[in-house]
């Protein structure tokens, strides 16, 4: 099911009564989420992404704007009539019910022509449990399951009634690091197998990049960029997106464009034809550095971390916003640790320029 948000806005009354005006959690959002995709709603905590999820689920009513599921306007529809599945951050499994009872719970609510017999319910529950590979644990109570298993019960409960849209709120945040890797693959697999349009909220860009077909980056309730993960990473539309995506994070420098050349400190490090003379931010991905004796970008070397398949070179530069400057270098290159200064040449497509005031991208 396609999900379309039109001009979607949600304001909350300010909790601090002294301050006037409302808090805008979601700010005029326009987006089309294609059918059958796994979509990540990515942003730092407090950016309104959970509010967004609640708007789509119907637990919250928007202040302005509309929500469509395909052709249907569901803006005013209560959550139970939207036919969605929702997985809560803390799973919200009913502690007094067994896994099976938890999974069949949504089915027992069906009325009229959708009403199922006991056998059908058990059949459907078993199918869902199989899908999340929990069919051996049907009689357990949630407290007897591990965090990862609980999470899968929550997913099974959400998909058992074949929702049009599946929503997941921070599905991995309560799991430890190892389980997280495993579970995100699991989510990917389940989404592929069911083909349900799935939207999940996360603040972890790595999580979002690794499994989703499309990511939506938001901050302070506003939409910043939408696209395939690699596109967003390679072609960020503004400084926030560039900084938010990628580990290790992008290196940001104060820079200047003069006569078609990019200056960082005193060095003219790159040709940037066609860019007007402006003070800019130059953001360079860690993998955008090539150690080069004749390179034009020099930094003070402070250390090298060996990571096996590559190593990262740490150096400092007075123009950098967050020293040290981190460059990831393949092991083919050699860096002399004894030297005080390291020189780089840059890969132009890994260097992004942003307007100093608006932080918008300047393309070259």
């Amino acid at each position: 099911m396609e999900v379309i948000l039109q001009n979607l806005t949600k304001k909350f009354p300010n909790r601090d009564k002294k301050k006037k005006g409302d808090v805008i959690a979601v700010d005029h959002f326009d987006i089309e989420i294609p059918d059958g995709k796994l979509v990540a709603l990515l942003g730092p905590s407090g950016c309104g992404k959970s509010t967004m999820l609640n708007l789509i689920s119907g637990l919250l009513k928007p202040t302005e704007g509309k929500i469509f599921f395909g052709e249907d306007d569901v803006t005013e529809l209560p959550p139970e009539n939207r036919c969605i599945g929702l997985v809560f951050q803390n799973y919200a499994l009913y502690p007094h019910l067994t896994v099976k009872q938890n999974i069949t719970f949504p089915l027992e609510n069906l009325k009229g022509k959708d009403k199922l017999t006991k056998e059908e319910m058990n059949e459907r529950a078993l199918q869902a449990a199989k899908l999340v590979q929990l069919d051996g644990l049907m009689e357990r109570k949630p407290a007897e399951l591990s965090g990862g298993q609980q999470q899968r019960v929550a997913v099974a409960r959400a998909i058992v009634k074949m929702p049009r849209v599946l929503l997941l709120d921070e599905p991995l945040s309560n799991l430890d690091a190892r389980l997280r890797l495993q579970t995100r693959e699991e989510i990917r697999r389940i989404q592929r197998e069911t083909g349900i349009t799935t939207i999940f909220v996360t603040h972890d860009q790595e999580e979002a990049m690794s499994i989703s077909d499309m990511i939506i980056v938001m901050k302070d309730g506003a939409l910043h960029q939408v696209g395939k993960p690699q596109e967003v990473y390679d072609d960020p539309s503004d400084l926030f997106v560039a900084k938010f995506l990628g580990t290790p994070p992008i290196n940001v420098f104060d820079a200047q464009v003069r006569d078609g050349k990019l200056y960082i400190g005193g060095d003219a490090v790159l040709e940037v034809p066609g860019v007007e003379d402006w003070p800019v931010y130059a953001a360079i991905r860690p993998e955008g550095f090539i150690p080069d004796e004749n390179g034009r970008f020099s930094c003070k070397l402070s250390g090298v971390e060996v990571m096996g398949r590559d190593y990262s070179v740490l150096s400092t530069n007075s123009a950098c916003h967050s020293n040290p400057v981190r460059a990831i270098i393949s092991t083919d290159h050699k860096v002399d640790i004894e030297k005080e200064v390291v020189k780089f040449s840059l890969k132009p497509h890994k260097v992004h320029l942003f307007h100093k005031e608006t932080e918008e991208r300047i393309r070259f």
């Binding site: 959550p79 599945g85 009913y94 007094h96 609510n109 009634k161």
Partner: protein, 300 residues
């Protein structure tokens, strides 16, 4: 080092001394003593002598028509008020937690009976239900409006008196139950309700399948304390029917204990002790049964 520990040990006992002294004199000693009393036959409080040791006191109490009356009254009171007050409190608490406006006001009002003097407000109930030569009283006025015959609820038939007693008891115990249940309801994670709503669960089903099991420990706590409290009923009855409860046929077990101890019918601490021990055997048994059931039914 050893000396220091000793010193601090001594000091600790010094801090504990007042508490131990008071508890020893007014709790531990009486607890032992009440059993001794209950077995001393023919104890005379003036001369502090007794004839022998045995079960005569229990035998006497169990055959005393006043005690049997008190026993019957107490059981009826317990059986009516505990389930009824718990159910109404549950309904009210669910109602309270589903509204936002003026909720604080309701909560404040509902709590008022807790801070009022049982004896004093009992008088108000008495005049509301009493029928005198001058007036039928307010409640009878309502009964008349609806075409019934007026009844004297205070000096009239047994069922009428029992009705007022139960009503007043419920009125008095309600604040505590509402308070406990509203905070139990508030502590249920909102996500459970949201999850159920997304699945299209009806309100009634949410209540029966989620809310009720989630707060079942608190409900059982209230039922257990409710049983204990109702078995110890006394001052509510005094407030409505005066101190001579035997004459009003409205005595309770605790009332019987005090009547044996003091007042016109008093001076028999042995009988009082036996009655008190019988009461607590009953309470203990019922509490144990309650705990057993709750172990089976409560989901945590």
């Amino acid at each position: 080092m050893l000396k220091k520990l000793n010193e601090s040990g001594m000091k600790a006992w010094l801090y504990l001394l007042p508490a131990i002294l008071f508890l020893g004199v007014f709790m531990v000693y009486p607890l032992i003593d009440v059993f001794i009393y209950s077995f001393e036959e023919g104890y005379n409080s003036a001369s502090q002598t007794f004839f022998g040791v045995g079960l005569y006191n229990y035998d006497y109490v169990l055959h005393d028509p006043y005690f049997l009356q008190a026993l019957k009254n107490t059981f009826i009171l317990v059986i009516i008020t505990v389930p009824l007050s718990t159910t109404i409190a549950l309904l009210i608490s669910v109602g309270l937690s589903s509204i936002e406006k003026v909720r604080d006001w309701f909560q404040t009002i509902y709590f008022l009976p807790y801070v009022t003097n049982t004896l004093a407000v009992g008088l108000v109930f008495m005049i509301l239900f009493k029928k005198t030569a001058y007036s039928d009283g307010l409640i009878n006025m309502f009964i008349r409006w609806f075409g019934g015959n007026s009844v004297d609820f205070i000096d009239g038939p047994y069922w009428a008196k029992m009705f007022v007693l139960c009503l007043y008891t419920i009125w008095v115990v309600m604040p505590f139950k509402i308070l406990i249940l509203t905070s139990a309801l508030a502590s249920v994670n909102q996500d459970y309700y949201n999850a159920a709503r997304v699945d299209g669960t009806s309100r009634f089903r949410i209540f029966r399948r989620i809310t009720l099991p989630m707060i079942s420990p608190m409900i059982f706590y209230l039922i257990i304390t409710g049983f204990i409290g109702a078995f110890k009923a006394y001052s509510d009855a005094v407030a409505l029917f005066g101190t001579n409860l035997n004459a009003a046929e409205m005595n309770t077990i605790v009332g019987y204990v005090y009547d044996m101890l003091y007042g016109d019918s008093g001076g028999y601490p042995s009988f009082a002790s036996a009655a008190a021990i019988i009461l607590f055997t009953i309470v203990l048994t019922i509490t144990c049964i309650n705990l057993l059931i709750s172990k089976k039914k409560v989901h945590y």
